[in-house]
């Protein structure tokens, strides 16, 4: 059985934020919520790196472990999804997640939170596939349409990979064998000379 995974090739990411925009547009994500974000390390310094981050659909998901209402479930594709009908917006999953994936819409004054929202790997929720109810709560279900998450498909530099874990691992390995990695990658010494190594 294929296990769905994301892999961001940090040597290729140029922080264009196309993945963030594509996600927001595809799922009609409201203001204040970003299911995907680009994190930049050592910004403006030699050796700067950007990584596109979202829910990593953990095998033993800590969000599911701490949820007091057990609203999380893992599909046969190893995608971690949740039911917004059960979620009470307590925020425990936000504290448990090492990637900061869970987001909460602000539904009123005094900081009250709505139902948690996170990356669904473009595979909807517990509602009937490709239904209006599913789209309104979780966004589009591209996996049911025979497609992959739009963030990865939209990536301009083909940095963000999505799909069967074994397949994308093979693609990444081939890239590393061909062009190297980090300071050993093609073009690094042209850009930074030999003084910087990672």
């Amino acid at each position: 059985m294929a296990r769905m995974k994301f892999l961001c090739d940090a040597d290729r990411c140029i922080e264009c934020n196309a993945c963030v925009t594509a996600c927001k547009n595809e799922h009609e994500v409201p203001w204040g919520i970003n299911r995907r974000r680009v994190v930049t390390l050592n910004d403006g310094k030699p050796g700067e790196r950007s990584v596109s981050m979202a829910c990593m659909h953990c095998t033993d998901a800590p969000c599911a472990a701490v949820c007091p209402v057990n609203c999380f479930y893992t599909t046969a594709d190893a995608v971690v999804l949740h039911s917004k009908d059960l979620c009470i917006g307590c925020g425990y999953c936000f504290y448990a997640c090492p990637f900061g994936a869970p987001q909460y819409p602000r539904v009123g004054n005094f900081g009250s939170r709505g139902k948690m929202d996170k990356c669904t790997y473009c595979s909807g929720g517990p509602e009937v596939d490709l239904s209006v109810a599913e789209y309104e709560k979780y966004g589009s279900n591209r996996l049911a349409e025979g497609k992959l998450p739009l963030c990865a498909e939209m990536c301009s530099t083909k940095s963000l990979l999505a799909g069967d874990g074994e397949m994308i691992a093979q693609i990444y390995k081939e890239r590393v064998i061909k062009r190297g990695y980090g300071s050993g990658a093609w073009g690094w010494k042209t850009a930074y000379r030999e003084t910087i190594a990672i």
């Binding site: 479930y73 594709d77 039911s83 996996l143 025979g146 799909g163 069967d164 994308i168």
Partner: protein, 89 residues
């Protein structure tokens, strides 16, 4: 004069409140009655044997958790275009 008026007012209010309390259930009687009631309820609960019920986790069902991923031509094209030379066979 003022003191006399105050005293008059105070005596009036205390008389009124007493009158209000007299026909109904007083505060002390109310709490006594409540105490008796809760003791009876506690005795009734104690007589029922405690049977712990297991907490049920959310079961979304097989239809929701089934695999949706298919290696369609669209997906194959993604793998092909993302791979380096070796995948461009």
């Amino acid at each position: 004069m003022r003191q006399d008026k105050r005293q008059e007012n105070e005596t009036r209010t205390t008389d009124e409140t007493r009158k209000d309390r007299e026909p109904g259930l007083g505060r002390r009687q109310f709490f006594r009655a409540l105490g008796g009631g809760t003791a009876a309820a506690a005795a009734a609960v104690a007589s029922v044997p405690l049977t712990p019920t297991e907490a049920k986790a959310y079961d979304p069902g097989t239809a929701e958790t089934r695999s949706r991923y298919r290696e369609t031509d669209h997906v194959k094209a993604f793998y092909r275009t993302n791979g380096y030379e070796t995948l461009k066979k």
